[in-house]
Subunit: 436 residues, 2 copies
């Protein structure tokens, strides 16, 4: 390398929680990053409508601007960091930066899940790079692991705990016996969960992330509307406790798997065995468990959100882009893949899996037999049945854990079972994932 010092200029659009973390990280660890990479990464501009409020980080006044145009058009800005969130202005901004030949680093999973193809095409067209490590699992370098660390592997499956808010809620319910609505309310009051928690607890945030991971793992573009998305809203303490007795936690899981029939991508609460490492991922932490044809089972674990963990991932991307620029190696790695486009995406609610089924039955002779008959009619084998103590007069909760079966068969069986006279209230069902 030449002894002349290499430089890169960074402009951050969006001076919120993460923006302030990135600014602080770039300033306080500037020398460290220079020592490790040989590139001096300078914070050149920060654009935000509000440049008055105190963000708890000292930035030179001349860095601040209210104009993202000024930032993008600043010739000293090589890398634009998009941290505004949303998909409207963020999209316009990202395209504008790419068209100006600036590389973009973003933490915006919704933007890429919804408009990725257009954005990746713009990056290629204008010889710019777009990096997005912070979009998935916060500080965990999972994009880097899939694109580079496991580059030689056919990825067979990925199981992710990708939403810290959901995992925090489930952990507190399990540990402290607090009801879903109460934990959610407390998390909202503490500013830890959004006032409108839909994106998190109904699984959409997790789905954005798994769509991006699916492209990295399988080389295929997978869209939100093509996959099954089910969140944890209203999850009952009953089911957490029954699952626990049977040796399982319930986690909101993002799953993608390859089989001879194609690939399966989905988001749903799932029972996972206590013995599995993902079961030990507690509180707001994230983890991604992967299986590759060479490397076998691997897991990456860490903080999935928060000012500094997210900043860590953004700075990793900034550094990669800056080094590529300094080495005249822009486009060193493709932003996304297309080699797996021919893979079949298995439609939602098809595929083979195990189920947890909770029924409230009339406490009368033959009730369980009637349920078993219906399951048998659809070819569904039962691995175990747990009949718990009566909890109200004349009614008894019964838990069935099935063997592997076709989800479509199971759903038809449930429709029949819900109509049985011995069934008091509608069946509750969750997928069991035993990572086979």
């Amino acid at each position: 390398m030449s002894s002349e010092q290499k430089q890169a200029g960074v402009g951050i659009v969006g001076f919120g929680t993460v923006g302030a973390g990135v600014a602080q990280g770039l300033i306080q660890n500037h020398e460290l990053i220079l020592s490790r990479t040989g590139v001096s990464i300078k914070l050149q501009k920060i654009a935000d409508l509000d440049i008055e409020s105190d963000r708890g980080v000292d930035v030179p006044a001349e860095v601040l601007t209210t104009s993202s145009d000024e930032l993008i058009n600043d010739p000293a800005v090589d890398i634009v960091v998009e941290l505004v969130g949303g998909t409207t202005f963020a999209k316009a901004l990202t395209l504008q930066a790419l068209e100006a030949g600036k590389s973009v680093v973003t933490a915006n999973k919704a933007l890429l899940a919804e408009h990725g193809e257009e954005i990746f095409a713009a990056a290629t067209k204008h010889h710019a790079e777009i990096y997005y490590e912070a979009s998935i699992a916060g500080g965990i370098p999972v994009v880097k692991a899939l694109r580079e660390g496991f580059v030689g592997n056919n990825i067979d499956s990925v199981y992710g705990i990708l939403n810290g808010t959901c995992n925090y809620i489930l952990t507190r319910m399990e540990d402290e016996g607090i009801l879903f609505d109460d934990v959610l309310k407390q998390a909202q009051e503490a500013g830890f969960a959004e006032a409108d928690p839909t994106l998190d607890i109904d699984g959409f945030d997790t789905a954005h992330k798994i769509c991006l991971l699916a492209n990295l793992a399988f080389g295929k573009s997978v869209k939100m509307n093509e996959i099954h998305i089910e969140g944890i809203r209203g999850l009952s303490m009953l089911d957490l406790n029954f699952a626990k007795d049977a040796g399982y936690n319930i986690k909101l899981l993002a799953v993608m798997k390859r089989s001879e029939e194609g690939i399966e991508v989905r988001v749903n609460p799932a029972l996972i065995p206590h013995s599995h490492l993902l079961s030990s991922v507690r509180g707001p932490f994230n983890a991604v468990f992967m299986r590759g044809d060479l490397v076998g089972d691997s897991m990456l674990y860490g903080a999935g959100a928060g000012r500094f963990p997210t900043a860590s991932a953004v700075i990793s991307d900034i550094t990669d882009v800056a080094i590529n620029q300094a080495a005249n190696a822009k486009g060193r790695l493709p932003s996304n893949y297309t080699y797996g486009e021919d893979l079949k995406l298995i439609p939602p609610n098809e595929g083979t899996r195990r189920f947890y089924l909770r029924l409230l039955l009339l406490d009368e002779a033959g009730a369980m037999g009637k349920v078993s008959d219906v399951l048998g009619d659809f070819g569904i084998s039962i691995a175990s049945v747990i009949q718990h103590e009566e909890h109200e007069e004349n009614s008894v909760p019964v838990i069935y854990l099935t063997q592997n079966c076709q989800e479509s068969d199971f759903n038809m069986a449930i429709d029949k079972i819900n109509q049985l006279e011995v069934v008091i209230s509608e069946a509750v069902r969750y997928i069991i994932d035993d990572f086979s």
Copy 2:
């Protein structure tokens, strides 16, 4: 990127377990890697003294040679993969390749821990690259995580389970109550542990790896003879059981920590709390738990050895080097760091920590008091004492868990305690790591 296909030629020296895995991976996943990177990576040559034995992988006959010189001098070989092991021929070979301007990928932790400075200097001098992901924790991309994923972080601490053989032995002892010597013997018979297990169970293999990680985390060269290295040979079932009752596993841990006094690097069996994620790392698996000033706590987990997991890491390195070459970006990242050379390395047996102490005491009034007096004299506070049932007439095992204390004070206290008349056999002591 240009539409002309980019190519890189690979030569593997050492056609053993890992060499065969790398060859097979490069062949069977050639198209996948090309799709993901735009570079066609061709297996050009394999050199080994034995080119007759069946390795279970189909390679074209013209690829095989008994001459590593022929391989290094082949103009179609851009990247030399050193998989011969040892530190004599491997060193000569590596230097020869670098001097010829070829980049080198190696899985040889002993080579780099012992001769790293010379080898890294040769790489720089000859504008070649040296990559070594597979040297540490097999298939786990921990070098990439530290060099790139966490590049923006001051690393505060790293805790590694880096030797699969040791972790396998400890797990079987815990789970099945099999004695150390018996598990080791079984592992040797199964070909899973070496006939001479010194490197593994006495901690030297782990120490090689933590020396390499220390450079990546702290920017300082740390040598084997500067650090405390203690293995698990002869670990007693008694201590595993007592530790378990107190809420701990015993793991062979590689530790490095930064504090105001400097950095501490060591290898020793340690008690770690059941609630910590590293406690869930079982069998032959490896894991690296890291704390960075931005990212907070992270862990990477996976297979630390074996044909294909190691090949996965070697292929990741080959791919990185091939892409750098294709992009004219050789030397994109430095091979090692020097920015932290001024950091003080805290000498072995200094530093502050907690201890587990097991004593066999005479079963008489005042025995425990005498021990407590000595500990008190050296300013060592006791967090808990567990007196177990008598196991032989007139003797009783007693477990002390201390608070944080100076290791030097603790060692002096132990010398005194061993001389007490109430102490029947020499004190057994282990470090407690609670990741504070």
